[in-house]
């Protein structure tokens, strides 16, 4: 019988051994990676992940897109399911890598496997893999219509794309010393699917002595110039309330199982969310959001977004430290309001 999910969270020892990597494969040019009981290799089409309980084969482009988000977000909040089988759970300092642990069929068969790593070690392993396995011309942050392919034998790299850093405001974009607006000069051209979005900035009339105290900027322009998809920035913080807007196109490469409540505010266009049970993956709901729609994602589900046109989504997060423990213990209900 496999271990109860709660015991995994509480009692797993942390593997602090660094990863290893092979020399480039003489045939396809890619390195192979290993950390703990897991190994990773890629060929021209697929990534192949092995654990002591089995092998999992996934499309290489989907795999790289998922890993890009996991790396860029430092394992994010809670569960980052690369697909229905593999993924990571963030314990903030340590992180679980799993195969089948949050899939009811694997768990029933006892073929699930989890190992806990020091976050920095697993991040180093993933970063190195991502750099080696990403070919020139493939940007894992881009929508499929905007980028080339990751398939085929080793062909250069794309470190500029893989090293992209999202912009995180400390208080509010445009305040002195804080994040800046996005412009052509800063390397943020208007995205092809937002060519009709107004580029006018607000007028700021500060009285002498109050420059830098009042502030405003065009958020829709900011989002129209986002060069990446499914990768939130932070534009304003009120205490622990963070506005994390993002531009979305095609499919969120991961299924996010949050360890706290998050909210979505659809600013433009439309996204459909496929929602499943966080532990088993069983289907629960489809949430279709059009411009002006507001919806929470309860703390007990996983969600994956589908955006047919590039759209503007305001993701709203609560940064209060330790929230994951308060939801896990049941102190906080999974839905943030009742009626």
């Amino acid at each position: 019988m496999s271990t109860a999910i709660k015991d995994i969270a509480d009692n797993t020892p942390i593997n602090t051994t660094a990863h290893s990597e092979s020399a480039p494969d003489p045939h396809n040019g890619y390195r192979k990676y290993a950390i703990g009981g897991f190994s990773f290799e890629r060929d021209e089409y697929f990534a192949r992940i092995k654990s002591p309980t089995g092998t999992h084969v996934v499309d290489i482009e989907n795999f790289l897109r998922s890993m890009m988000r996991d790396v860029a977000w430092g394992f994010f909040y809670g569960w980052v399911n690369f697909d229905e089988v593999i993924g990571t759970v963030n314990h903030y300092g340590s992180v679980d890598l799993y195969m089948g642990t949050y899939n009811s069929a694997y768990r029933e068969a006892g073929t699930d496997y989890t190992e806990r790593f020091d976050s920095q070690n697993l991040l180093a392993c993933f970063k190195s893999m991502l750099k080696d396995w990403t070919n020139t011309g493939f940007d894992p942050f881009a929508a499929p219509l905007e980028t080339g392919t990751a398939r085929g034998p080793k062909n250069g790299n794309n470190d500029a794309a893989v090293d992209f850093q999202r912009e995180l405001a400390d208080r509010f974009v445009t305040l002195p010393g804080d994040s800046e607006i996005r412009t052509d000069e800063r390397g943020f051209p208007v995205n092809r699917q937002f060519s009709d979005v107004s580029q006018e900035e607000p007028e700021i009339h500060a009285e002498p002595g109050f420059e830098g105290e009042i502030a405003a900027f065009n958020l829709f322009k900011y989002l129209s110039r986002s060069p990446v998809t499914w990768n939130p920035s932070i534009v304003s913080i009120v205490k622990n309330s963070a506005y994390c807007p993002t531009s979305e196109e095609h499919i969120l490469p991961i299924d996010h199982g949050n360890d706290r409540v998050e909210w979505f505010i659809q600013l433009s266009d439309e996204i459909s969310w496929r929602v499943g049970d966080k532990d088993s993956g069983a289907p629960r709901a489809v949430v279709t959001m059009k411009a002006g729609d507001v919806s929470c994602m309860p703390a007990d589900i996983r969600h994956k977004g589908f955006s047919p046109k590039r759209s503007m989504l305001l993701v709203w997060e609560n940064l209060t430290p330790g929230l994951e423990k308060r939801y896990e213990s049941g102190e906080l209900p999974p839905v943030p309001a009742e009626f």
Binding site: E213, F217, Y243, E270, G292
Partner: protein, 166 residues
């Protein structure tokens, strides 16, 4: 190709919704549409459309001049429809201000005494900082709609059963 980015307004919105595919209930998604909410509210009412512990996002129908407000912490105002000005005053009499730990916006009885800090002229999509300790007033010539990032307070109105799919 000229793209057609879809923004909505109080007079022109289409609502999505929650469809259940397994074990779940629609109310748990607290699904609403900010334009529908503000089409049914009075000017300057702050209807909570999103809440995460004490933090809120409040949808406000904006028409004409708002009361003056102040707040002990930052807030922000995202204009989702129309045009507006936001005027700021640094109150001179700090005893009239809410205590530092007071959460949410506080409505003032009128325009406060103090130094004019300036004003902002905003249109759709513009995000304005309402800095902690300043008094502010919204002015909208026509119909406008503002989303306010704040903390649950005296001005916040919760009416989930009325606004959410269930």
């Amino acid at each position: 190709m000229d793209e057609q980015t879809v923004f909505a307004s109080i007079d022109n919105y289409t609502k999505g919704g929650v469809e259940i595919t397994g074990k779940d209930e629609p109310w748990r998604y607290l699904f609403s549409n900010m334009f529908e909410v503000t089409s049914n509210s009075q000017p300057w009412e702050r209807i909570v459309v999103a809440k995460n512990l004490e933090f809120t996002i409040e949808a406000t129908r904006a028409e004409g001049e708002s009361p003056w407000y102040t707040c002990a912490h930052d807030e922000t105002a995202l204009l989702m429809q129309g045009a507006m000005e936001v005027h700021f005053i640094k109150p001179g009499d700090t005893s009239a201000l809410p205590p530092e730990d007071k959460e949410g916006a506080v409505r003032l009885s009128g325009e406060p005494q103090g130094a004019k800090m300036g004003h902002i002229v905003a249109s759709r999509g513009h995000l304005t900082l309402l800095p902690a300790g300043a008094a502010y007033q919204f002015r909208a010539d026509g119909l406008a709609m503002i989303l306010i990032q704040s903390v649950l307070g005296d001005e916040s109105i919760e009416k989930w059963a009325e606004i959410c799919q269930h």
